[in-house]
Amino acid sequence: MSTLHVAFKVSGSEYVVPAADVLHMESFQGATRVPGSPEYVRGIVQVRGRVVPVIDLRVRFGDQAAELSPDARIIVVQADGRAVGLLADSAREVLRLDPTQFRAAPEVVIDGGQGFVKSVTQAGARIVMLLDLKKVLGEENVHGE
């Protein structure tokens, strides 16, 4: 049985998250920076009456923050009772993917990527990476003990 996944691009690569974890998507109109937050936190945005932090996935994945095009999207996801926005270069597709076709990401990918990628699969001829949202969002105490 296949399930719906939201697909998006970051630095030229394609990622997916289960559509069930996505609350909604917004175009990016700028964020209010919060001094003292980690570098990969772009800031906070107000969406549908709530304020959510936005993680710049480019920076989170070790790339430079880039000038954003009008295609940029905030994908608001939920995990562990938190709602957090993920900033992607674009998000255009919803893919129907078969969970049994997901394969564990190669070890080098896991080690090199801090475990952000949980598994990989094919969508047609393309390889897409399934994100581990808990890892991407980080632990509750990001500022350390």
């Binding site: 209010t32 001094p35 906070i44 107000q46 959510v52």
Partner: protein, 172 residues
């Protein structure tokens, strides 16, 4: 009430009267606040913690020796020296060149501290939502509000922020 995430309901019993139920989440507070700009960004701070707002005459500032940290500037207020804290430097905000910067004076443990800002915008009641997610929880930032431009505006606890400066001085 809807915008606050609360609800309003009422119940009427014949011959006894009507009860109104107004429910508002406790996590949201409404405070009287000053809004101001600094480093091309807007902020607000509760009126209740502000002792005074003064104009800063750059020519009359005294620069104390830097030592290990960065230089401390001193503002003279009616014969009392008040350390002047640059919000722009503290938050690493872009440089801005206000013609006449303002100083917001707060008091912590009996000591006055002045925060340099570019421009005062006004005073209004604002709804403060706490920043709950660990990613954006930060001492001295008590929450965010909406000044009507669709972008969140940070609510600053200048008293707590003044403590950050002296804590850093103590470490240096």
């Amino acid at each position: 009430v809807d915008e606050l995430g609360g609800d309003l309901s009422l119940r009427t019993e014949a011959g006894r009267g009507t009860t109104f139920f107004l429910r508002i989440p406790l996590t949201i507070t409404i405070v009287d606040a000053f809004s101001f700009r600094c480093g091309r960004q807007s902020f607000v701070t509760p009126v209740s913690i502000v002792e005074e707002i003064v104009e800063i005459d750059r020519a009359r500032l005294t620069r104390a020796p830097a030592g290990a940290g960065r230089a401390v500037r001193i503002l003279e207020r009616r014969g009392t020296p008040v350390p002047l804290i640059s919000l722009q430097q503290m938050f690493h905000l872009p440089e801005s060149d206000a013609a006449v910067p303002k100083g917001i004076i707060v008091r912590r443990a009996g000591q006055p501290y002045a925060f340099e800002v570019d421009q005062m915008l006004g005073q209004q009641e604002v709804v403060v939502r706490p920043l709950e997610d660990a990613l954006v929880r930060s001492p001295g930032i008590s929450g965010s509000t909406d000044l009507g431009d669709g972008q969140p505006t940070l609510v600053l606890d200048l008293v707590a922020l003044s403590g950050r400066v002296s804590a850093r001085e103590a470490h240096a």
